[in-house]
Subunit: 190 residues, 2 copies
Amino acid sequence: MSSFYIGLVHYPVLNKHNETVLTSVTNLDIHDIARSASTYGVNKYFIITPDKTQEEYILKIINFWQSEKGLTYNPDRSLALSKIIITDSIESSIKLITTQEEMQPIVISTTAKIMDNQITFDEIRNLHNENQPLLLLFGTGHGLTDSIHSAADYVLQPVNGVGDYNHLSVRSAVAIILDRISSAVYKGRN
Amino acid sequence: MSSFYIGLVHYPVLNKHNETVLTSVTNLDIHDIARSASTYGVNKYFIITPDKTQEEYILKIINFWQSEKGLTYNPDRSLALSKIIITDSIESSIKLITTQEEMQPIVISTTAKIMDNQITFDEIRNLHNENQPLLLLFGTGHGLTDSIHSAADYVLQPVNGVGDYNHLSVRSAVAIILDRISSAVYKGRN
């Protein structure tokens, strides 16, 4: 199995008018996604924002849960949050992985839209069975910009439910996608 | 396919000391789970709390999103929240389903713990292919009480990740479980 990283992008992402914006970090994106990352064996969870105030906000939360008070109250939460690395851009996340792994990661962007040449969940599971590290990018707001999809090595196909409604929260989408890629279900154990 | 209901239980649930408590409704449990329910074709999403103040809080949120302002800002969100029914107990949720469907639902409780005689995801998919409606119960706090598991027709096996860490948020657990039960992945389309 390859090393496996995820990144939650707060810039550049789209707003509802299709404009490129910086979004704010939300408390539950930090917690829920760190817990999903820990459950599915993700190596590190990058929270990507160039905003220094946002970075301080995230650090404050992490520091609370790593403090004696937080550790006593909920050690599992501290463990999950230790997965988090805050970076100022996708590029610097890629650099960190490359240094750590001595190999460039395969970058895979995600979207709720149907686009040309998206890879399937079977294909991403095959990539995960190879050697090269993976970095899976998720957008906040109304999703990743086209420039991110163009720069990525692959764009993953959207999560289909059973009807036309397709507006999962990013927290739910991360959970489902990690389960589909990594879970024991696909190995016949669950 | 059978009709399919989910219930998020705020009483009776456990706290970290294994005591039976009433938990507070959280804003993102309302939104995220309603969006997952809409994506996976759930008929209705019961938010179960006997607390009248909590009920008013939920109604305030739903009413905002059903107002002209909310509808204009995000019609998809209004659609998702229209799945919600607030009930004061599991029993009254079962009664409502029974009246609606003219048939008692099969009640399935969920847990992060390994217990005796849990049904598998394959088995719950088989139940979903039959005629009788399903009601899937999720616990807030530290999970559903033993009395709920005992009263249920079945207890679903926990979601396994890839390691020992098993502390998903209830929002993530609902998303993953709905995906495993209902998703097109299992029908070879995604």
